[in-house]
Each structure stands twice: as C-alpha cells, then as structure tokens.
Symmetry: C2
Subunit: 353 residues, 2 copies
C-alpha cells in the first residue's frame, strides 16, 4: 500500500509540515503520523492536525484511497435537496439508494446519505469539507453534476475516490455514469416528427444541470435532421414538478400556432401538463401528444391516459455506482465513463388513434 505524501493545495499558498507543527505546538513526527493515519496518535491531536492542515491548504497526494481504505466502511452520497422538488419526493434516488446499499452491504460497506443545502451557507462546499475532514466516509457518490463543479475539483484535490452521476468538465479524470439525455431528447422528438407533428414544444429545468443541456441538444438535433426550425417560444423552463409542468404547459399552449406535441424532461411534470390540457378542454393524445421524459415512476401507467415516457432501471444504476466505487477501493478500476441509454415505454399519451 503506497503511503500518501503531502502537497500544498495550489490555491492555498505554500506551507509545510514544519509550519503545521509550529502552529500546533507539537512535534513534526506527530503531525506526520497524524496525517498518515498511523494508529499511535491521540485522536484529539489527529483531529486538530487534520483541521489545521485543511485550513492551511494541505491535501494528501493522490492516495486518499490508501489513506482511508477501510477506515469507515461507509460510502457517502452527497444529496442536494433542490428547492421546489423536495415536497414531490425523489423516486429516482430512492430506488437508486436501495440498489447501492444492496451491493455495498454484501461487501461489508454501508451507504450513508448526506443531505446538503448548498445555498444555505456562504461556502457551498461546507458540508463536503466536513465530511472529508472528519473522514466520515471511504469514498463518495456525487449526483447532480454541473458543467463546472467545484465539488469534483475539491474531491480530486483531496484524493478521495469518487464516482459522479452525470458528466462534468471538473474533477480531472474520474469515473462517472450518465444517462443519455441527448439520445432521449432526440428520440422522443424524432418520434413526434415521424407521427406528423411539426410544432413540438419542450419543457426543461431552469437550473444549470448538465442533463438539461443534453436533452435540449437532442431535441434540436432531431428538429434539424427533419429540416424544422428551432423556436425559442416553444421552449419553457421551470421546476421539475407537477407545478412546473403546469406552468410550462400554460405558457406553451398559449403560443400561436399552438404546438401539437409536448415533451417534458421528467415524468413528474406530466400531472401538471394533463391538468392544463383538461382546463383548456384539450384531449391529451388527440389534441396534444405528450411524452413525459425521464423517468418512468409507478404513477405514470395509472394516469389517464397512461403516460408515454422513458424508463430507467434505477436500482441497477445504484448497484453499478457501488460496484465502480468498490473496484476503485480495490485499485482495480480505471476512471472510465459510462453513458447509459434510456428506453421509451410506449403508452397512450402520444397516440392519435
């Protein structure tokens, strides 16, 4: 097992173990043993050393893995609770958690879910720092990646193994899984076009998540392939909730000429879209075709009409995230990415019978 060495965190300025020892009034040897996770260090001292090292910008070089291996047998998942969405629940994540815990517990690990509210404090990385500095976990799962994501850069710097759910330009080479929202957006749009639709509206989130860009890119690609123009007015941004779907449908169904098809990024928006159609006396399926996006929850087939949307094996996704991290902890994995296809489930909401 390679021992970790220390490098100064580039943005925090140069400092040394010597400075750390002087600052804390303890020996260089103790600082070194504390940072290298040797057992013969008073736990309180270790905490002080790690906290001070972190403040001074010290991070272990690469070997967070070996530094922490087996330390906690906990795998963390940093879970943001997005505003406006919490009250609707997260069917996606709940099933995923089950799959992850299943694989982890069979290997003697446990999943711990760490809720984060990045907007609540001045430092959006505050919770992540606490998790790392207090060594609460051996490795991390990071969902909801952004194009530029300081969380991933931070984890790469401290050298703790992680897997991202979603792509990002940040964090250097690292393993990730993403769902192919671009293919989904393109497939659904092309399906509408093949059924004769020419005015196709789309509802996407108002956030900066990567999936939104990909979904919209797929939509635009299908339009272009069919020689159809891209119209800003047919794109609505909003919350990924029933209320967001309702607001989007209200706006989009006001556009003249009215769109004959609507694609939402997430099936949770469908209930709101259905309601707006009912209020306008429009038949879902006949007057306006609807495809509910990602993903298929147990609710969608009970809606009237049953919702055509994209299916995802979220349990398998959770399992695979665990497998990737366990392989990383065993030093067996490359930092490869996996792009998972998303499959359409055909039902009644986009059918003109």
């Amino acid at each position: 097992m390679k021992k970790p060495s220390l490098i100064p965190h580039a943005q925090a300025g140069a400092s040394g173990i010597r400075d750390l020892a002087a600052r804390l009034g303890i020996s260089i040897g103790t600082v070194s043993r504390a940072l290298n996770d040797k057992p013969d260090v008073n736990p309180e001292t270790r905490k002080r050393v790690i906290a001070a090292a972190s403040e001074l910008g010290y991070v272990p070089q690469q070997s967070g893995r070996s530094l922490r291996k087996g330390a906690t047998h906990n795998i963390g998942l940093l879970w943001e609770i997005p505003e406006g969405r919490a009250a609707y629940g997260e069917p996606f994540f709940l099933s995923l958690f089950g799959g992850t815990q299943q694989v982890l517990s069979a290997r003697g690990y446990d999943l711990v879910i760490m809720p984060d509210q990045p907007g609540a404090t001045a430092d959006p990385l505050a919770r992540l720092r606490r998790i790392i500095q207090q060594r609460q976990v051996d490795a991390l799962i990071l969902p909801w990646t952004r194009t530029m994501d300081p969380r991933l850069d931070y984890l790469a710097e401290v050298g703790i193994p992680f897997v991202a759910l979603g792509r990002s330009r940040s964090g250097g080479p690292h393993p990730w899984i993403d769902l192919d929202f671009e293919q989904a957006g393109e497939f659904a749009t092309a399906r509408f076009i093949a059924a004769g639709h020419r005015r196709i509206a789309i509802a996407i989130p108002a956030d900066s998540l990567m999936q939104k860009r990909f979904f919209l890119a797929g939509y635009r690609r299908a339009l272009k392939a069919a020689g159809l123009p891209f119209e800003r007015a047919l794109v609505a941004e909003g919350h990924v909730t029933p209320a967001g779907g309702y607001a989007a449908a209200t706006r989009l169904l006001d556009v003249i000429p009215r769109p004959t098809a609507m694609l939402a990024i997430d099936s949770s928006m469908a209930v709101g879209i259905y309601r707006r159609l009912a209020e306008l006396g429009l038949s879902c399926g006949q007057d306006v075709a609807v495809i509910g996006g990602v993903h298929d929850t147990p609710m969608t087939e009970f809606l009237v009409p049953a919702l055509t949307c994209f299916s995802l094996d979220t349990v398998a996704l959770g399992r695979r995230l665990a497998e990737i991290l366990l392989a990383r902890l065993d030093s067996k994995a490359n930092p490869a990415g996996e792009l998972w296809p998303i499959v359409l489930v055909e039902r009644q909401s986009d059918r003109i019978d």
Copy 2:
C-alpha cells in the same frame, strides 16, 4: 458530566471488564479508558475493545449521551426503504430531511441518512448495530415505528439518545412525535357521513405500522358515533402506491351495494383510485367521493379533480425532530411525546355539486 459505567446486557449473560481485558490481552485500565472514551487510547485498540464489549453483551449504563457527546456531530436517521414504495419516492421524508438538516447545521451538527433493508439479512438490527458500535452518530431519529419494535429496545439498552417518529410500546420512556392518524381517519369519515354517505370504503397499508391501526380506529369510531355498521368488505389492504390504490379501488368498487365514498390513508393511492373510477365510467366527486389521506404533495392539487386530502408541514416536523434531539444532547429534555394534528385541505374530489 456523569461518567458512564458498564452493566452486562441482560440477555447476553454476565461478564466483566476483567474478562474483556483477558480476552483481548490488554490491561484492565486500557479497557476501561477505551470504554469511557478517554483520549489516550490507541484508536485501533479502542475499536477492538468496543467490538469485543459489544459481542460479550456489554453496554454503557444510561450514559450513551455523555459517552458520545460531541464525538461525531452527526445525527443519524435510520431509513427503511420499503418494498413497492421506493420507486414512488418519499415526498414526506425528503421535505422532513430538509427541515432537520436546517436546524442541525445551524448548531454545528449534520444529518446522515442511513438506508436500511431489514429483510435483507438474518439480523434485522444488523445495520443499527454497526452504526452504534462504530459510533457513527451522536443520536438517532427512528421513523416507522412498530407496535413492538426491537430497534427501540436496542437503542434504549445502549443508551444512545433517540427520538421516534411514531408511537411504540418498545424502548421504555423516550421522546416521540406522531401524527394523529386516528383523528384524521375519524374526521374524514365523519365528513363523509355529514355529506350523506352511508357506505364508506377505506384503503390502508398491508404492513404492521402503527399508523394503520390508528387510522382504522378513527374510521371505526366515526362509524360507531353515527350508528353505522363496520363492514370488513369495505376495508382494503395494499401498497401505499398508485398501484396499491388501483388494486384497492378495484376490489372496493366491486362490493355490492357499491360504496359511495372512499378514504385512502395516503394521497399516493389517489392516482390509482382515479384511474379505476375512469375505467368504470364513474365520476370522481359525483359518483364516488374520494378523500386522499395523508399527506398533501404538490401533485394533489393538479389532479383532475383536485384531491381533498390531509396536509402536513413536513419541514416543521423535520425541524422539531432535530430540536428534540439537540435538547436531549444538552440534557434539557424530558422523554415526552407530541401528537401532531393533521389538517384537511378541502378540494373537489369529495364534492357532490
């Protein structure tokens, strides 16, 4: 701060610090210091001592609180992921988590959610034991209590502070919050009766959770108060999901004479009930009045017709659970219970206009 002393766990047989020291080949003083959380103990040794003490049935007497105070600054929530429900999500818990983390983080604590799959292993307490033995948290929130609940007894034995969400006969005196499902069941049933209904069906979960008993008790009490008979055929048990609602409605609407009103314990069942009504050509509201139970998610108002159901401030509930635990950690709280009322939100699904 009172120091913890050790008592043998009654069910595990008698043994002593002496036995422990002999078994581990270390001094009695070291065992004692390790168990009393003194700083001058090698952390590996501490782990071995705690593991061995736990195997031999040793538990700290009452003072888990002082033993662990400030040790992790993490508050755990043991989260069961019930089969058949995961894929639908947990709007209830997601909002609750937000409230809890909000209060905790303001006090320097963090919420960690620990998913559990009690049916997955031979020992249903396996994960809880790991959490306690590895001192992962300072205190715990336990949702989904059962009438007899070995988890609560275990926590009471090891003396770690906890708050239960739901009542139970287990765990000795301890703080809890419960939602008044009995009052909700009674109120909704009485409302149906006042509107002229005489055949009122009810859909409840097929599990052994306390809330089911209370909800059914409230339903029966309202029937009795109105001099109406209780009929087994008008009670359906099933999953608390849209599919469960659909199955329940299928069964209940077959009963002759057909019920004119349906009460579901949870609003998630409503989508399935609506679908079954549509399939039978029955109007929700006119032909069959529906009340959707606990609780009001952002979806319910967008259903057509908008669902009458019970509202809950889940964020406030999450905040209060955190406050109770923080007070326990400060030694200020009594192990009192709080029964929260549930308020009906009137919409269209139970209206005969």
